[in-house]
Amino acid sequence: MNSKSNSEWLTRRAMLQKSAAGFGWLAASAMLAEPVGNAATSMQVSSRPLAPREPLFPARARRVIFLFMKGGPSHVDTFDPKPLLDRDDDKPFPGEKPRVQFAPTAKLLKSPWRFQNHGESGLPVSELFPNVAQCVDDLCVVRSLHGTNAAHGGALLKLHTGSDNFVRPSMGSWVTYGLGTENENLPGFITICPTFAHGGVNNWGAAFLPSAYQGTPLGNATVPAGEATVRHIRNSRLTLAQQRVQLSLLARMNRDHMQQSGPSLALEGRINSFELAFRMQLAMPEALDIANETNATRKLYGLDNKVTENFGRQCLMARRFAERGVRFIQVTHSDGDVQWDQHGDLRKGHTKNAAEVDRPIAGLLKDLKARGLLKDTLVVWGGEFGRTPAAQGGRDGRDHNPEGFTMWLAGGGVKPGTAYGATDDYGWFAAENKVHIHDLHATILALLGLDHERLTYRHAGRDFRLTDVAGHVVHEIIS
């Protein structure tokens, strides 16, 4: 970002912070925040919790697709090449290891994969991701992420909710709370094939935010993407025509009841909710039906190949939801187990995992770009942590490493074809321009036009936010 646009942006932000009027979002937040400590009436104030809301300041991204790689992909084997690691293979790590480690590690282990520079930007990508490498000029690779928890559960929770010791609303819930959704016939926050382990629903839950903001799971990690569906979206016994007859009786009964009970936004809201539910029954299957996608598109996502078919379908659904105005879409790459968690069998495991996702991810990026969606869709790729440069369990595995790892962002206002931050010479610790998980959250919200310090919700007498009391926007990666 050049300094001019940076300062303009900051000025506008500062101005908005001082101004007392004109906040679509703030007005909405005042409406939705727990009135007099009792959210029981909040829905009586707003019967449309998911109505779209204008962000605080101009948004660079209108929606998010988060490609979550469960288990922790190794950064030193994918997007963060370390020449000294090659040189000092099988030697001890010269620095001090973290105070808290998940498992003991032995000597340094060089990457079994070769890196090559790609695209005009010349960013290095390992041979694990030949297709993503073709899109490298669209990526902003952040190599200095760091978190706080070395175990899957804590790290997943930290990444998804900003907290690894308390139950807090998830990132997608905050975003939906802040912005509503652009298509009320679909949920505002959808998570495709999520895992129930390591935090499970907390990772897409609304915690104390109103339940309208919780993520809607589509299947789960043990269900093939082709069979993933939303619960209760279909009636097993009645036709739509029969339900229509039912619903018109229901509407008449409810209106009579409201006559008797007196006006109430809750009663009115519930009358509308049945109509909305009926429309969702039509909209969701339409969004999931890929029959009309061309062969070229299917191929682009790897639907023609057994290895890539499942994740490809997840990515294709993500694009279809993005097109239809869903605000936050998470796509999880996880089998029934911990997928990218190669404490052992690194070569085999990472090869298999990368093969499953490489083409679909590249397909998604290319497809979004071709359809003009990439410019206002923020795509985020990464796992809950990276892996240690030192070997674990022989010479073919790596331990969890939250001290320094890579995630990349694309589209939605990030600087394309750049790398930001660095780990130390061996890739163990984030060393330069460090980006904490809180900073990532603050930056994602900023790209969406939200101020992480002001997107708050009053609960149990305190204003909560996604970044708790931390987080800095990484302005340097915003274009």
Binding site: G37, N149, A151, H152, F196, H232, M253, F274, A460, R462
Partner: protein, 828 residues
């Protein structure tokens, strides 16, 4: 606000170093006017570093993280929370220098990027020069480093910390409306605003309201008829007696408490393992409510049941141990690699829960810094932490950590276990004997003294078969081994701490001054608890909380009762009575109720009678707009609020109306073994929710609630909640339209209606209205139902071949519509 300690965030303070550093040379030494050379060096080299890299987080005008400010000389000389940062002339001993050198992982500044080597050496040189600093701006830096200092005397003036008042019943004009003292307080406020209370609700409405309220179930037809027929003075009181005596009362009101106790059948958080014995605590709570256990006793048992006087009565002893589930029930980060943090986190959870549940105070806020809004300094937090640090909650902290479970076996359980052990030992002996006989034969046959490897493969076939049969038998027995009953709970630790250090900024890596065990000072009246040196102090804490002098305990609990009856607390923020919470709408009423509660021996059932036999509770809810303008939130209670049923009530009402509800009480209902993963690393859910028992017995899986619960605002079972939401969202409608549960209930209901084939449809419609809504249908509704049945039948009869149960299907559809309608889940 609460800053979360994190284990790798670089910390500006480091205890070890504190100890190493000699006291900083008195500022006087450097207060002399610095020489021109020093001034120039500071201006040219040092000040730019401070401005560019430090003062964003360390300044008197903006943030002063770690209590350190670097924008003035005074701030620099004072240092941060854990002492001075400069030792003039000695860079190695100056923490300022250690931090910028970036060698110590827990002490690195600036946090995101190190300074350049030349900047570091400039700072080193400057310190060596004696840290000349010409800045003269005088900003008063208080001892607390510019932070707010809590004034305890001032804090005590806040209403919630004041002793209970002794309010007199107010004088009101509308004496005729007064049925209970409660009414006088309500009416007085209404009259002052020239508002009139709504007229009394109809009897059917009141009965439906009271029955759901006390039992969570719809009234039965016989009960409706009996009540309508009872014209005596105490007809209402008799209904209350009946409802309060029914075992369903404890299931409904026990569930309210379980919200506060964040009850769950699994850990949630990172490692979602089964709390296989949590149900004992749940049953304890249900039974406590049914038996009207005095609340003070209920409180003491939950915090210190193990420390109460020893009793010969085994059942009583087990009951008290079971009550301790309250302390153990929280979500814990069981795989946290930093074990010290793991322990401090669950202690924090215990303190926070006790604070919110009993005192309505967010004590957890004081973990990292003095409470920003309430007069609770960090010292108070660690005084409480000392009590729980002296308590044994976990047996070990290895991944996955194990919580402690006291045994609650009866003599027959121990006997059964002994018998079983004998039996299985005997079986194992049979195997051993068989093998040694076979081995002897092998040795004899081979004429050697030793056995070859894997001798079993050379046993005769029938011996091998016999061995396999016996081993399979033992394996089967092992899976059926009786477990000695145990319950989630705590005991005193082996190391009773008399003092415990304050953890600066909440981190166990930076310890501050030692504090003794104690309770929040602002709530201490005339009696301060004295802590026994042999015990953790939980009993003293519990007794202090449960004393009649405590300013909060009774207030918080009567306010909860009020909230659960009237939909909105007198203090609307039921779990926060602090500065950020709401002020009471009727402070005198609140104090009057609190005193009455104590005077009635902390009897909750007595309070139900006081509250429910009031005119306030009898008011109608259906009033027009007229009243709303002056009191839009109905804080003054000019009418009864419309209430949406809670998740469990909706589910139980569906089953009750369909005649499917099984009223069996208590027992283990989680189909997963204790400590087993609910999902493991896979995402398969072993839990099912198709039981027809009351919803209170359905498993509560943290991270993966039963979908009906989740949709209908069941509170997050990881945090105490006294105030459920009642949102309206489309997925609720989908559930009512399409879920198996609702369709089955509708189908069962229809089947019952059609059982008597001679019954006319009009009669059937009347019956189903009575069952679902507790009232007969109007003529218009009758007619509409009839038309619907015909119309719906038409949609089916066009199908080919024409199904033969068209009418039954139409009835099912009608029943489902009735169950989905607002009248079914909203109470007037």
């Amino acid at each position: 606000m609460r800053a979360l300690p994190s284990n790798t965030t670089p910390l500006w303070v480091m205890t070890l170093l504190c100890a190493l550093i000699c006291p900083a040379r008195p500022p006087a030494a450097s207060a002399e006017k610095p020489g021109a050379q020093g001034v120039e060096f500071f201006e040219r080299k040092v000040r730019p570093i401070f401005v560019e890299h430090c003062t964003k987080c360390h300044s008197t005008s903006e943030k002063s993280k770690g209590g350190l400010t670097l924008d003035t000389r005074a701030g620099l000389l004072k240092g941060g929370d854990s002492g001075p940062v400069l030792v003039h002339g000695d860079p190695d001993k100056s923490r300022l220098i250690q931090a910028v050198r970036y060698k110590n992982r827990d002490l690195q500044m600036p946090p995101n990027n190190p300074l350049s080597p030349s900047q570091v050496s400039d700072l080193e040189k400057w310190v060596k020069m004696g840290a000349p600093d010409p800045r003269t701006t005088t900003v008063t830096v208080s001892v607390a480093g510019g932070k707010r200092v809590i004034d305890m005397e001032e804090g005590r003036k806040f209403w919630a910390f004041q002793p209970l008042g002794k309010p007199l019943l107010p004088n009101v004009r509308g004496q005729a409306w007064i049925q209970s003292p409660v009414d006088a307080f309500i009416l007085e406020k209404l009259e002052r605003k020239h508002l009139k209370p709504a007229p009394a609700a109809g009897r059917r409405t009141w009965l439906r309201r009271a029955t759901f309220d006390l039992t969570g179930l719809p009234p039965k037809l016989v009960d409706i008829e009996a009540f309508l027929a009872d014209r005596s003075q105490d007809a209402f009181g008799r209904v209350l007696d009946r409802l309060l005596d029914s075992p369903q009362y404890g299931e409904r009101w026990g569930r309210h408490w379980l919200d506060v106790a964040r009850y769950a059948d699994s850990n949630g958080l990172d490692e979602n393992v089964a709390f296989g014995n949590a149900w004992r605590y749940r049953d304890y709570v249900v039974s406590a409510f049914n038996r009207d256990k005095p609340f003070d006793q209920f409180l003491i048992e939950q915090l210190a049941g193990d420390l109460l006087a020893r009793s010969e009565n085994i059942a009583l002893k087990h009951e008290r141990l079971t009550a301790l589930g309250f302390l153990s029930m929280g979500p814990k980060l069981l795989a946290e690699p930093d074990k010290v943090k793991l322990e401090m986190d669950f202690i924090d959870e215990q303190i926070e829960t006790i604070g919110r549940a009993f005192m309505g105070i967010t004590l957890g806020c004081a973990r990292c810094h003095d409470h920003k809004f309430d007069p609770v300094p960090t010292e108070d937090y660690y005084s409480l932490a000392a009590i729980f640090k002296s308590t044994h909650t976990m047996d070990d902290l290895k991944t996955v950590a194990r919580w402690h479970e006291p045994e609650v076996g009866l003599p027959e359980d121990f006997r059964a276990k002994e018998d079983f052990d004998k039996l299985i030992d005997a079986q194992r002996l049979v195997i051993t004997n068989l093998m040694s006989t076979a081995n002897r034969t092998l040795i004899a046959d081979a004429k050697t003294n030793s056995l070859s490897s894997n001798p079993e493969s050379r046993y005769p076939t029938n011996t091998q078969a016999e061995l396999k049969r016996l081993r399979d038998g033992v394996k089967r027995m092992e899976t059926e081994a009786p477990e000695l009953p145990s319950t989630m709970g705590v005991r005193d630790g082996t190391n009773i701490l008399k003092t415990f250090p304050v953890h600066l900024r909440g981190s166990h890596l930076t310890l501050g001054k030692e504090v003794s065990r104690g309770v929040p000072q602002v709530m201490v009246g005339s009696t301060r608890p004295l802590f026994d040196e042999r015990h953790s102090g939980r009993l003293e804490l519990a007794r202090w909380l449960a004393s009649a002098e405590h300013p909060l305990t009774a207030r918080v609990m009567v306010n909860r009762l009020w909230r659960w009856h009237f939909g909105q607390g007198l203090v609307a923020s039921t779990d926060n009575f602090g500065a950020l919470g709401e002020r009471p709408s009727h402070p005198e009423l609140l104090d009057w109720l609190a005193r009455r509660f104590i005077a009635e021996g902390w009897s909750i059932k007595a309070m139900h009678r006081v509250l429910m036999l009031s005119s306030a509770y009898q008011m109608a809810s259906n009033v027009g707009n007229a009243l709303d303008a002056s009191d839009p939130d109905n804080r003054l209670l000019s009418h009864f609020p419309l209430r949406r049923l809670e998740a469990e009530e909706i589910r139980d009402a569906l089953l009750a109306v369909a005649g499917m509800l099984d009223l069996t009480m208590g027992g283990k209902t989680l189909p997963i073994k204790n400590r087993e993963f609910v999902f493991n690393h896979t995402s398969k859910d072993a839990t099912t929710y198709d039981s027809t028992r009351r919803a209170v017995y359905l498993p509560i899986i943290r991270n993966h609630l039963y979908d009906l619960f989740e949709q209908f605002d069941f509170p997050d079972p990881a945090v105490p909640t006294g105030n459920r939401n009642a949102t309206v969202i489309a997925p609720q409608a989908l559930l009512m339209m399409n879920s198996d549960l609702v369709q089955q209930a509708a189908s069962k209901l229809a089947t019952h209606l059609l059982e008597d084939t001679r019954m006319p449809d009009a009669k059937r419609v009347e019956r189903v209205y009575l069952q679902a809504y507790g009232r007969p249908p109007s003529g218009r509704e009758l007619e509409r139902a009839r038309r619907f049945l015909d119309q719906f039948e038409d949609t089916i009869s066009v199908q080919k071949p024409r199904p033969d149960n068209c009418r039954a299907q139409a009835w099912t559809a009608l029943c489902q519509t009735l169950l989905a309608a607002n009248e079914f889940i909203y109470l007037n």
